[in-house]
């Protein structure tokens, strides 16, 4: 499973989550293992794209699930389990980034080879400087450099909306802000990204 399948995965029935949560609260740790297997890929993407560091992502994700495991008995189901987990992940990641004053050297994952067949990738690389063929890794560096210029809050909404395909309403519930604030943050973040990614502008 990879981040590209994230949007389809959001449509899985919530009953499954409710049942697994109920079993976990009843004392069955294997039910929580199933929740870990289900949510690790999507939460990994969320944390990774905010930190741009694989090692930090791994440690943070372990802490996220650890906190969720210790707190699951107090989960009352007012929101969906997915919203709850995403909320924990976003808050812990933002707190981590705030404490980490000095920016770490990025530790990036190699892009999946399927990117070469993506129309958007082809269009982006063809729109760039024709004298210099942009490689996948160069594109990756430029995208991460552009994301690094965003604030933690703006990077969070860009990650959830643009990269993971989470709807505005769901993002608002996860972060605890209004849908209008989500849209305005996205608008501002896109303006900044456009300045950073000007070389990929369509002719």
């Amino acid at each position: 499973m990879n981040n590209a399948d994230m949007t389809a995965d959001l449509d899985t029935p919530l009953n499954n989550d409710k049942e697994l949560v109920a079993r976990t609260q009843g004392g069955d740790p294997r039910a929580f293992d199933e929740l870990i297997v289900k949510y690790t890929p999507r939460l990994y993407g969320l944390v990774y794209h905010m930190t741009s560091n694989h090692e930090d992502t791994n440690d943070l994700l372990q802490d996220v699930f650890g906190k969720a495991y210790r707190s699951i008995c107090s989960f009352r189901g007012k929101s969906s389990f997915s919203t709850w987990m995403h909320s924990i992940a976003v808050n812990m990641t933002i707190n981590f980034l705030k404490k980490r004053k000095r920016r770490q050297h990025p530790s990036l994952n190699d892009p999946d080879s399927n990117i070469e067949n993506d129309p958007d990738f082809i269009a982006a690389t063809s729109n760039a400087d024709p004298r210099h063929e942009i490689s996948i890794h160069e594109l990756q560096k430029k995208l991460n450099a552009a994301m690094a210029k965003l604030s933690h809050d703006h990077r969070a909404v860009v990650t959830m909306f643009d990269i993971q395909g989470i709807p505005h309403a769901e993002i608002a519930k996860i972060i605890g802000i209004s849908e209008g604030t989500v849209r305005s943050r996205l608008f501002y973040a896109h303006r900044l990204l456009q300045n950073s990614l000007a070389e990929f502008r369509k002719p």
């Binding site: 590209a4 870990i36 372990q62 982006a124 643009d162 990204l193 000007a198 502008r201």
Partner: protein, 146 residues
Amino acid sequence: MSDEHTHRIIRLKRYENPPEEYYEEFLREFHYRQRAELLKPSLKTLLLERFSSLMLEFRVPASAYAGATVLALLASVAIWHASPTTSSTSSASYAVNYSQTPITIQKMQPVSLRVESPVSADQSRLFPTSYLLQARPANHESPLSF
């Protein structure tokens, strides 16, 4: 560059994924960390251990701790008893005792020096002239006693 174009460019980051085996290993590591967390001593235990090792550096014998604790308790009790606000009955022991036998002064006549009229001739031969203290002979009683 439009918002839609920006969205499509940034969306390419979704292809950045960890190796496939990472997710299998993640669950194993989660279990390992949970077990390690259970083995970790509590903060209270850690502080006690550090204090003990510090005392060992000073070579303080174990019996000294018990002695120090007893002394501290005794000092606390002594200070508590010595405090003037702790007990209302103890103040009476320090009060001045005014119940002693009071001083008594016997009432005596004041002394007066004056010469009485001389006695008659007949009496003068029997009773020679003498100075009288207020027409009374001098008091030969014992002096004042307190």
